[in-house]
Amino acid sequence: MLIRLWRYTRGYLRIRITGSGTERFINGCRHRNIRLWNLQVVNGAYEVNMFVCDFKKLKTILRKTGTKVTIVKRIGLPFFLLRYHRRKLFFAGCVLCFALLVMLTRFIWDIDLSGNQIYTREQILHYLENNKVHTGMVKSKVNCDKIAADLRRNYKNIIWVSASIDGNRLCIRVRENMDAYRSKTKKLTENRKEKAVSPYDLVADTDGVITEIVPREGIPRIRKGKKVRKGQVLVSGQVPVKDDSQTVIDYQYHRADADIKAEVKIPYKEVLANSYAKKVYGTIKKKEDYIRIADWQFQTGDIFPEKQTEQTKKQEIYITNHPLCLFDRIKLPVSYGTKTTVFYRISQKNHTTKEKQQLLSHTFSQYCRDLEKKGVEILENDVKIYTGSGNASARGTITAVRSIGVLRPSKIKKIPRNSKSQQGENIDGNDGNSH
């Protein structure tokens, strides 16, 4: 292989030797230290390879042996360069391409992070960037040991880090202490609950009759079967603290919590226009492929969705775009895909009475299904469909049982002053009695 490369770099000739003393010619070459290789008999003559510099030494041998030499082929880099010596820009491009390739391989082009669950990729990458580790940095400046140590020091829940360079990719593998994180999160949630000092009431978000109440936190202000109005307090978040004489001396603040269900009336109205526009699609479809590099686009046809003409307004364009990604993550500004255009015309049509009924009925059924999905129990409905020559409508009321109650900041109640002073007196009195 090396010998071949060396021969190619030096350049050599394939020559044909004819005449009577061909064997003498070969021996003569050997005598003058002329290197010959791949000697073959072709059509009764010899064909052999030799270096260009040796070809110039053949004059004497040819005269002595009475042979003739013709060049069959010129092989090697010098001949290649000679052939394309005018194409300087091509060679410059090749050299530049190679230089760029060599230069670009000296940088980190992707950071592959895996094993993280507690800390997001963005968090860790942001931290690395602050520590001057980012994509596009020189590979030689990457200190894997330092990256691993820094990550372990900065993120307490990371218990093991491995950083390595794989080609142009910085691979970071981490292991996190999930048990410690879970217990910590639990503690934080409990603390947060304890720290909730401002009270919240549960108030009715609509009128209705209470059918069920299961309080969890706070003081219920309503009972089962009671009518409530919108905005009425259902469960108070301020729990009074009373003394022995049942006097309110203070309030404990809570976030009211309860499951409250009420029978409510839900108004329903759906209007359907008599006429509608229908798209009638044509049979002609236009399809084209395109390649997009940044803002420049090359396409095989003339579909331009951004140009709004009278013709293009009545067409639907379906675009399938495939962006190219490097290492599955680095999005390149290159994409390819296809565009398909379907032409249509608008046709105005009127609904028949049966169609109107069907459509309104279908819409109402869908609405009821959506309510049921939200946990609403429909007791009865008096929704009726009204059809005529004009617009059709479905109107009525649905009676249903659903959860009511939304959280609202509670109005802080003031503790009566006299109860405080009374309390103070009582305390003093008690002290006096004890002596």
Binding site: T22, E23, I26, N27, C29, R30, H31, N33, R35, L36, W37, N38, L39, Q40, V41, Y46, V48
Partner: protein
Amino acid sequence: MEFAEIPKDVLPGLSVLTVTGNVELTLENYRGILEYTGELVRVQVKGGQLKVTGEHLMISYYTNDEMKMTGWIRDIEYHCSE
């Protein structure tokens, strides 16, 4: 020489022939090619001639010290000069 147990290939002028299977032949210490066709190669060596017959015989390289032949080698004969 036999008494001293010196290998004979170090003796000046003696040819050394190395054959690999029937596809490759290397010859050292030769004087020159006498005849060469695709089926026959005759080489002058010290004290005689070496005759190689076969098919598609090609001389891979031909230098002052050594030559290498490739192809399908059928016979190798040594003709001693009287």
